[in-house]
């Protein structure tokens, strides 16, 4: 029982990342009709926004303390971040919480990136074949990740979660399953965060007038256009939202896996599979499939399962995708006629 709960939790936090990327991917596809292979790069850019914020906050002053000596007989260096010098305790708080605070920086940055990407490139590909959309965004993804590599190098850059959220939570006790079951706090935070973000986006689409118009545009953009609504602009906004969602998902993921320049591509391939399993263009489908595949993957990596089916943990997601595509071509929740050919 413990093991099962642990695997579900493990799956949920990975699934959260899949769901957030897949959400944006499918939203862009459903609105603009564009297959965006650069979406993983947005996730990666978000993670590097966190890196930049962290580096800025970590700019330090070095003072030499002559009274205390190190074992080598040199004066001890006291390094204090500049913000801490300026702002005292509030500065220390900023340094400590740099990862969650990076979200505040990531939102405008990712909106801008999304806007530039959509207006500068994607817009010209609305009417071009899907193959060309895939190829041009694939090229863009390479360019973005190479730029990041040129600035930040090829090695992963570790970032830490705030002290209050590092360490493990005693999940077992909460559920009355014995104290042995512990789970990292930050992963729980990530899970909660991704659920909240998903709820926010779905709520926006479902319960606001703006979201209703966007959904109407997904159904029939021409008619919405006839009603005098500038649907193109709303779709651009949706692209921006998708970019922000991917970006903040990347920000929050940094304490779990240290960001490197190719993390976007690694996630993109899986997220595409998630989108296809969920149903191209279906937002709820993508979210459900994200969590579902995350959980399945973590169950497949249990030792008991691996003994029966060696290697299953490596292929489970792809295997599910193949089965779903062959048995139910439009995915779990896809609508009839969307890219079914």
């Amino acid at each position: 029982m413990d093991a099962i709960l642990l695997q579900v939790l493990n799956g949920l936090d990975k699934g959260g990342a899949y769901a957030l990327i897949a959400l944006g991917l499918t939203l862009v596809f459903g609105t603009l009709g564009v297959v965006n292979f650069a979406h993983g790069a947005l996730f990666m850019l978000g993670a590097f926004v966190a890196v930049v914020v962290n580096r800025l906050l970590q700019i330090e002053t070095v003072k030499l303390d002559e009274t205390k000596l190190t074992p080598w007989g040199t004066p001890t260096e006291i390094r204090t971040p500049v913000v801490q010098d300026w702002l005292g305790d509030f500065g220390a708080f900023l340094v400590q919480y740099s990862v969650p605070l990076s979200i505040l920086a990531a939102i405008p940055v990712m909106l801008l990136v999304g806007w530039v990407m959509e207006r500068g490139l994607i817009r010209f590909f609305y009417r071009r074949p899907h193959a060309e959309q895939i190829l041009v965004t694939f090229g863009l993804a390479i360019v973005l990740q190479e730029i990041i590599k040129a600035f930040f190098g090829a090695n992963p850059i570790p970032l830490t979660a705030p002290d209050t959220m590092s360490g493990s939570a005693n999940v077992g006790e909460w559920f009355g399953l014995g104290a042995g079951l512990a789970y990292p706090w930050w992963r729980l935070v990530y899970l909660g965060f991704s659920l909240a973000l998903v709820a926010l986006v779905l709520g926006f689409l479902q319960f606001t007038t703006y979201g209703m118009v966007v959904r109407a545009g997904m159904q029939d953009r021409q008619t919405v256009g006839f009603l005098g609504i500038n649907i193109e602009r709303r779709f651009t906004v949706v692209f921006g939202i998708a970019a922000v969602v991917a970006g903040v998902a990347g920000v929050m993921y940094t304490p779990i896996v240290p960001p490197n320049y190719h993390m976007g591509m690694d996630f993109l391939v899986l997220s595409f599979v998630v989108v296809v399993v969920g149903g191209m263009g279906s937002v709820t489908g993508a979210v459900l499939a994200g969590f579902l595949l995350g959980i399945l993957q973590s169950f497949a990596s249990m030792n008991e399962v691996k003994q029966v089916l060696p290697g299953i943990d490596q292929v489970i997601i792809y295997l599910i995708a193949v089965i779903v595509l062959l048995v139910r071509p439009r995915g779990l929740m896809g609508q009839r006629g969307v890219m079914e050919s």
Partner: protein, 386 residues
């Protein structure tokens, strides 16, 4: 087929053969005349020709073609280990193994088209890659990669009493060790054969059927034409080309690693084909050559070389230019590749071959006045990747 087309094709083949065989001479001024690079031109040329049969002719975008390359490599190395160091069994086994593998994968994946096909092939390739790294380690030797060893049985070599060398043997053909220039000429001959087969396919009724499938599969179905055998045949042929290329990679350097099957490798062959011109005959080979050339030449550039290159400029300007170009060379040559690739897809979806055609038709128009037919052809070729 009428006689003029046939004669044109023969001339075409002759020019192509000559160009390939004299590559060491005319590539010399470009600094590309060393056997290792020449072998790569030929091998990736074969890979791209094969990919073009599926993508360019039939219109199916596969994002998992590297899986067949990897299977071909593994099969070839196993042939070296178990049977003989002769290159012929190795390439036969590599091609056949990849062919069988592609029958299975093609049968499943071809149930869908468009983006779903791309994702299915990607899923299969990733599965193969992951399995090669983990569970299939007894066959693939995991992360280390499959290598020759002195304890290999090499049954045929033992039986026929091939001369024992002290160290590790190297793949041979007719007594030549296939590294250096003999290796290049071996690959070059196969490239010419591969090109000839692709030319014949494109001129045959079979090739016509593939093109028809690309332009409108539904209509083909309505005329009572079963497209499935044709798409599967195209997929398998394409997979066998990839297997041949993989086997040749093993012939010129007898080891095989799983990273050959990774999706970045699949992406690379897509880039080559698009860059050269999907659907054209010679385009993919040019694309493969250009990419491999850039990879070798550009990635060897470093800051000192850049200063040499821009040395003729005034000092300030030189520094500025070096700073600007620095991220694009050396480690960052992928950036150059990405930028070129984007520019090609945006402005020249037909690839370099379309560029050649546009320039030619522009010259033709300016010399012979307005030429409406050339224009309509240009329009028709505008979206070859559709």
């Amino acid at each position: 087929m009428d006689a003029t087309t046939l004669r044109n094709d023969l001339v075409y083949m002759a020019i192509f053969t000559l160009a390939v065989l004299t590559m060491p001479f005319w590539l010399d001024p470009f600094g590309a005349n060393y056997p290792d690079l020449l072998q790569r031109f030929a091998i990736y040329g074969i890979f791209a020709i094969g990919f073009n049969i599926l993508f360019g002719f039939t219109g199916y975008l596969s994002f998992g073609h590297a899986a067949f390359l990897g299977v071909g490599s593994y099969a070839a190395v196993w042939s070296f280990k178990l049977l003989s160091m002769n290159a012929i069994p190795a390439i036969v086994f590599g091609t056949v193994a990849a062919g069988l593998f592609s029958v299975v994968i093609g049968y499943v994946c071809l149930r869908r088209a468009g983006i779903y096909f791309a994702i299915l092939t990607l899923a299969f390739a990733q599965m193969s890659y992951n399995l090669a790294y983990s569970v299939l380690t007894p066959i693939t030797n995991g992360e280390t990669g499959l290598q020759l060893s002195l304890q290999d049985p090499r049954i045929l070599d033992r039986v026929f009493g091939a001369p024992e060398t002290g160290g590790l043997p190297f793949p041979v053909f007719l007594g030549y060790e296939l590294n250096g220039y003999p290796g290049f000429y071996f690959c070059a001959v196969l490239l010419i054969v591969a090109f000839f087969v692709s030319l014949r396919i494109s001129r045959s009724p079979f090739g016509m059927a593939l093109r028809a499938i690309k332009s409108n599969q539904t209509r083909m179905g309505y005329t009572g034409f079963s497209t499935r055998p044709y798409t599967l045949a195209s997929f398998v042929i394409s997979g066998m080309y990839a297997g041949l290329a993989g086997a040749l990679l093993a012939v010129t350097d007898p080891l095989a690693g799983a990273e050959r099957m990774q999706w970045t490798a699949s992406g690379e062959v897509v880039l080559m084909t698009i860059l050269g011109g999907a659907g054209t005959l010679v385009g993919p080979i040019i694309g493969a050559g250009v990419i491999k050339y850039f990879e070798n030449i550009f990635s060897a550039f470093h800051e000192a070389r850049l200063h040499e290159v821009f040395a003729f400029l005034p000092d300030g300007l030189e520094d500025v230019l070096v700073t600007i170009t620095r991220p694009f060379v050396g480690e960052g040559w992928h950036l150059t590749l990405g930028v070129i690739f984007m520019l090609i897809v945006i402005f020249l979806p037909g690839g370099l071959m379309e560029g050649v055609r546009r320039v030619r038709s522009a010259i033709g128009r300016s010399s012979s006045g307005h030429d409406p037919s050339g224009r309509s052809e240009e329009q028709a070729k505008l979206h070859p990747a559709e």
